[in-house]
């Protein structure tokens, strides 16, 4: 799922300090799971902003809401009769949700309230780590189910580099070397023969290098 972290309160305050009516819009999707931008976080942020305005001796109306998903029009449409009441919205959805809301409410100021980070997993509560960079052509079948693009710091397709050290990546001892993981897993699976075959240069057109991407599924379109 998409992983995000709340933006620092000071940054959000700086965005909204000149307004008097602000809506904080959470999303019940990914950002709820990683506890960055669900209803709970929307409430916490709204109270913090209310406190700020009270202490500053200013009248302000700060409300919160959470939508089922901000990456879908039908849920964003639920805000259509509320938008006029606000000067600005802080969306706690991922970057997709923030942009989709802005697309739909073209003349409204929509600010991001979280930093969208990566596609990852929940290792534990409060501990998320990256697994995929959505390259558009998955090669996990060849790499023992471990992604070298997301999990090698140099996205090498023929690792590990000479910096891997006792299972750790050269850039940081806290990061496992993705390629040592691949090697170990291929060994476990009895597929080490794959390891010595050079992997050709990758076609990155399906990744972000091909420009903004789009999926058209004719089978699903009516």
């Amino acid at each position: 799922m998409i992983k995000a972290v709340p933006k620092p309160l000071e940054e959000v305050l700086d965005l909204v300090k000149d307004f008097t009516k602000v809506l904080i819009a959470g999303c019940d999707g990914c950002v709820t799971v990683c506890e960055a931008g669900g209803l709970k976080e929307a409430k916490v942020l709204a109270s913090a902003l209310r406190l700020y305005f009270t202490q500053a001796g200013r009248q302000a109306q700060i409300d919160e809401i959470s939508l089922t998903r901000q990456c879908e029009k039908e849920y964003l449409a639920q805000l259509s009769d509320k938008m006029d009441a606000y000067d600005a919205v802080v969306s706690l959805a991922c970057g997709c949700g923030v942009q989709y809301m802005a697309e739909m409410y073209n003349n409204k100021i929509i600010y991001p309230g979280v930093d969208t980070c990566f596609l990852g997993v929940n290792e534990e509560r409060g501990l998320y780590s990256e697994r995929c960079q959505a390259c558009g052509r998955c090669i996990l079948a060849e790499t023992g189910g471990i992604c070298p693009i997301a999990r090698c710091s140099k996205r090498m397709l023929n690792g590990p580099c000479g910096g891997s050290d006792a299972g750790r990546c050269e850039i940081n001892k806290d990061i496992p070397c993705g390629w040592e993981l691949i090697y170990e897993r291929l060994k476990t699976l009895g597929q080490l023969d794959r390891f010595e075959k050079p992997v050709d240069p990758k076609d990155w057109t399906t990744s972000r290098d091909g420009g903004p991407r789009k999926i058209v599924r004719e089978d699903l379109r009516i």
Partner: protein
């Protein structure tokens, strides 16, 4: 190993003599005299001179410009190329540029992550990795083709090198496997990571010999003289993938400060003497980091000077 390119390094290796290479680091300014000076310091003692490519991700004069300078001085450069900063268009363009000046040796590297350097906030490229760069230059040389499919007539005559680190994770066997992969991609010579743990290096070479890989690729053993105990400790603790045994740290630290540099050089000379006897070692690559002036003395004392003159 037969001679397939105009490379003098390849010729030396093919002659059966131990080859000697060293490297020079370009300056962090537009001062072209630095490389000329460093090149002149070592030129009579080595068969080829590597020029590092923004090593440890610190921005410097580009390797290509320095290699052209050395070539114009009549020396034999080895163009180091990392895939960190350039995509396949730029890499191939630089290979053609180097070849257009008659540069005949390349070292294909992925490169250190930019996190180590002076621009840690930059974007990296890594369009290719070292093995794919080997494949690419081989294809350009042997098939006269770019990755994009374009065919051309005047091919780059490159003797293709790469690095190998017997000491990195997870184990020596895998490091031999990875080197086998470089051989499969087309590498012809290897300059290894600096060797301090000779036993482990010998274990690595034994596995290479057992698989016959030493017949397919020339291994030049990497030697870096230690300047003092501080450097030994730094390399032991801070350089990922490098192995400096405690005994080495103790030895350098065991002599007074003003004698440590001398001890480091003596150690380097002894290492070369010992490694000369290891089956599959075809030469040495001396990396004296910002200490190029010590290279001639090391090579001389190690019995590798004068360099054989080949017709």
């Amino acid at each position: 190993m037969s001679v397939t390119t105009p490379s003098k390094l390849q010729k030396m290796i093919a002659s059966g003599n131990l080859a000697v290479t060293s490297e020079v680091g370009p300056p962090r300014s537009a001062d072209g005299a630095v490389i000329e000076h460093k090149g002149n310091l070592i030129k009579d003692y080595v068969d080829a001179i590597n020029v590092t490519d923004n090593q440890t991700s610190v921005c410097r004069v580009c390797s290509l410009a320095c290699c052209i300078r050395l070539k114009l001085m009549g020396l034999e450069p080895v163009l180091q190329m990392v895939t960190r900063d350039r995509n396949r268009i730029a890499l191939q363009s630089d290979i053609l540029g180097a070849a257009s000046f008659g540069i005949n040796n390349m070292l294909c590297l992925t490169g250190d992550h930019q996190h180590f350097g002076d621009h840690p906030t930059c974007a990296n490229v890594f369009d290719l990795d070292s093995i794919q760069l080997i494949q690419t230059v081989k294809m350009m040389r042997d098939e006269g083709r770019l990755l994009g499919g374009f065919e051309f007539a005047v091919r780059p005559q490159m003797f293709i090198g790469a690095a190998a680190n017997p000491f990195a994770g997870p184990n020596v066997a895998m490091r031999v496997s990875r080197l086998a992969k470089k051989v499969a991609a087309g590498v012809q010579f290897i300059q290894t990571q600096c060797i301090y743990n000779l036993d482990k290096f010998k274990e690595f070479m034994k596995l290479m010999v057992d698989r016959g890989l030493h017949e397919k690729v020339a291994i030049l053993a990497g030697i870096t003289p230690l300047k003092n105990v501080g450097m030994a400790k730094y390399m032991q603790k801070r350089v990922p993938g490098l192995e400096v045994p405690d005994s080495v740290v103790r030895r350098i630290g065991g002599v007074p400060k003003e004698k440590q540099a001398e001890e480091g050089i003596t150690l380097a000379v002894e290492q070369i003497q010992e490694l000369k006897e290891v089956e599959g070692v075809r030469g040495f690559h001396i990396m004296a980091i910002e200490w190029e002036e010590k290279v001639p003395g090391i090579i001389d004392r190690a019995g590798l000077y004068p360099r054989p003159q080949l017709a």
